[in-house]
Amino acid sequence: MKMMRSARGLVVSAGIALGVVVGAAPSASASFAWTMAKDVLVFKDGKQVEGTILEETATSVRMKVEMYGIVSEMSYDKRDILAIRRGEVTDPAPAEPTEPQPKEPAADAPAPVEGGTRVYIANLSGQFGRDISETPIRNAVEDAYRNGAQVIVFVLDSEWKLNPTEEAPDDVAKFDQLFRADTIFPILREEIPRMFDEDPKVVFWVKKAMGGACFLPLVSPNIYFHQDAKMGGVGNLTTMFGSTGDEVVRQKQISLRLATAKGAAIEGGYDTKVIEAMTMIEKVFSYRLEGGKPVIEERLPDPSLGEILLTDDGLDANKDTIEQLARSQGNDVLTLDATLAQKLQISDGTVNTTEELLYALGLSRTGVRVDQNADKIMQQWSDGVTNAERRLRKLWQDFQGIQVQGEYSERTRARGQQRRTLEEMQGILRRYEEALVPQRLGIPDYNSISIMIEQIKLQQLADKK
């Protein structure tokens, strides 16, 4: 995103290091994934076709199929199709842009439930940016649409760990995961309104929303907390750059990040001072309640107004002690719990069970659950990522073990094997691009693999019998 002086271009850019966050841009994660395709169409005459579904309408399915090494796109009439099966690693592929067509429930979608308010509950759990990611959320939303959901509840319970076995405390901070949330926002902001004929009510039920996950619920005006919920873990905005570079540039970086986070809060209708309190360690905020409504002021509390300290400046005697931190009582930056979130009107209420949530939403009598596939969708994605990581490591190991030697035909065969291995790696990387960091797996990235394939082609061209 940034260019150096050496390119004769000074930079005035965000310069956001997306690589620091989890994964890269989500674009076209599935549309080029035909090498991994496992979707199967089962026809009424017994025939089966494997490939990758590119587009599915009420009447037809367009699929990318490979026959004898030739890739082509085929359209099939749904009247001829008995069933559509999607492989374990294969989630429904997003359609390539086409002419707009009225969306109708897919042929294999369950019939709408008669009567009651249709409620779809999707559990967003696991590692933010990996398990909680745009593709499974988008798939869940599409499933909610197919099931005629009128209320979509996202139960947010993101992992917050120092390592695989150790929970991270509240004062660990990962503000820049905001830019990972930024790739999920469009689903909530744009895709849901675009998809549904009548906007469903989108609700977040927060169990744990730390790091980048804390920004997700903010774009929704309907948030509930579990009694043990935590929302925060982004208190390093003004300290994350340390002493690198010049102060004015650090301030620029802080400014654009803060504005981006505030943009999410504005969308949900929340006071942007809450964002400052959560992210800026040096800022002091207090609040009071006026007619039951919170008023947040950037100052120490005024006792005459009954104000209560939200966050102090974190300096000297005000610095959170280890005793406070161990007890989640620090106030250098704001971490919301259920009580405070409700007082600040971030949370509409505290609920501990799904039944309580439905009651709070006024749906305890009329709500009809239509989320039979939700957990499966989320689990399939997580399993898919795990399998993809395992498979990528294996493929890379295999590639490194391929010896190009012997007779010309053997060398040719070996190079062919190298290419196929690399191409399979590219297929997986494309498909799970948003959740994979190749460097962490010890494998080359997509573009580096392209170069390797190019080199193999040239070596083959140079080889002689």
């Binding site: 995103m1 002086r5 102060e247 943009g263 170069i451």
Partner: protein
């Protein structure tokens, strides 16, 4: 499909436009809007049009104007003495014309003119990583779109060109070129408005040439400090040059230059707003409202931009934008395509093609070079009679490189570090000669 429903709703709204608008109630009135999502918002109804309500609220002491759509509103409770609740779905009574002067927006387009033509042209596409100014937002790519815009909007100045900005910034050297295209090639032909989704740094500096700025609710605009390397600031003469450039560009956009200055360097900014709504800016903390603290860099969000009247309004959809622009009869040119919330006009289609090709080339640049260099190396190490296949490979790779630069001339600078196209063309000619020589 939702888009079609929106269009139908919008067309229905147009059909009853003759009803006009209700005027702003007295200042200080406390109205309540009950929203269908359960929220109740307190504030003041500033204006209404066919069920759309411009509502002024205070959030954390910041006054913000929010537009609510009819379908969002359950009911409106008005201050004592005001008319009874309005059915948000129905036409409004009243025959006053829309007042264009109160927010400084251009006068309303005459009714029954067949609809004012409008087109959306996107500058940057953050989600796809296609947003860098100088690479994906370029003067050249906009210039290429102008004939298409002329075809669709006409050139008499009535057509509205909405520049939808979604970029995290980029190269400083492109800003002047972009500003010149906007000032000299777009503004004389179209009513140019900027619709800000994410205009950071060079993207904000580009947008600054536009007078009429709208934000999405999530939008932000600013953080324009020039830097390089490990967060090192542009300083000295280079900085002065940029500050002066932005003073001139501020004048083009009719923005007080100290606003942009507070976005570039750590200077305080405050303002006062008089009873007529006029904003006076201060390069100090002397104004009634602190807009930027002394040791910070300014970035507006939709609330602050509206409060301090930097933006003319806040809109998330083209329907809301048309309302905010006070253009009730609008004809958005282009085709609806899946996944896009506005019609894609021919110019926009070309812009998308340009970005896609640029992205593909950017991702594959190293591949092109490796293919070229290794093909040359292999050709050089091969007897003359067997070189053909490698030279052909090299020629293919060179053609890809040429095509890449033809699509995006700025690559000659950013990829090859060559100041001009002539320099790049000379390089290409040298390479072609090298390939010919290899075959001799």
């Amino acid at each position: 499909m939702k888009l079609m429903r929106r269009m139908r709703a919008w067309m229905s709204a147009l059909a009853v436009l003759v009803a006009g608008v209700c005027m702003t109630p007295a200042a200080g009135a406390i109205d309540k809007i009950h929203l269908k999502d359960g929220r109740v918002v307190e504030g003041t109804v500033k204006e209404e049009l066919d069920g759309y309500v411009w509502f002024v609220t205070k959030v954390g002491g910041v006054e913000t104007e929010v537009l609510y759509k009819p379908e969002q509103i359950s009911k409106i409770e008005r201050d004592a003495g005001s008319p009874s609740p309005v059915d948000p779905q129905g036409p409004q009574s009243g025959d006053q014309p829309i007042m264009a002067s109160d927010s400084g927006v251009p006068a309303r387009t005459p009714r029954f003119a067949g609809g004012t033509k409008a087109a959306v042209l996107t500058l940057g596409e953050r989600q796809g990583g296609k947003d860098m100014v100088g690479i994906f937002v370029t003067a050249d790519s906009i210039r290429r779109c102008i004939p298409l815009l002329e075809e669709e909007l006409g050139t008499d100045g009535t057509g509205i060109l909405v520049l939808r900005v979604n970029s995290g910034g980029g190269a400083l050297l492109e800003i002047q070129k972009l500003s010149d295209v906007i000032e000299y090639e777009l503004k004389p032909k179209f009513r140019v408005v900027a619709w800000i989704d994410w205009a950071i740094s060079a993207a904000a500096m580009t947008s600054h040439a536009v007078e009429e700025v709208y934000f999405t609710r999530r939008g932000n605009y600013g953080a324009c400090t020039g830097w390089f390397g490990a967060l090192q600031a542009v300083t000295g003469r280079d900085l002065e040059d940029v500050l002066f450039m932005m003073e001139k560009i501020s004048a083009r956009g009719k923005h007080d230059p100290i606003i942009m200055r507070a976005m570039q360097i750590m200077e305080p900014l405050s303002c006062s707003i008089d009873e007529n709504g006029e904003v006076k800016w201060f390069k100090s903390l002397d104004g009634d409202y602190i807009v930027n603290e002394p040791n910070r860099i300014l970035t507006f969000n939709s609330e602050t931009a509206a409060k301090y009247k930097f933006s003319k309004g806040t809109a998330d959809t083209i329907e809301e934008l048309a309302q905010a622009m006070r253009v009730p009869e609008i004809n958005w040119v282009g085709e609806w395509i899946d996944g896009v919330d506005y019609p894609v006009c021919k110019a926009e289609k070309e812009m998308r093609r340009f970005r896609d090709q640029t992205k593909s080339d950017q991702d594959r640049t190293n591949e092109y070079f490796v293919r070229y260099q290794q093909s040359i190396a292999m050709a050089q190490g091969t007897p003359r009679e067997e070189r053909g296949k490698f030279v052909n490979k090299a020629r293919e790779a060179l053609d890809l490189i040429v095509r890449m630069v033809r699509n995006n001339p700025n690559f000659h600078l950013f990829v090859f570090n060559m100041a001009t196209m002539d320099e790049f063309n000379a390089f290409v000619e040298e390479q072609r000669q090298l390939l010919r020589d290899l075959m001799k």
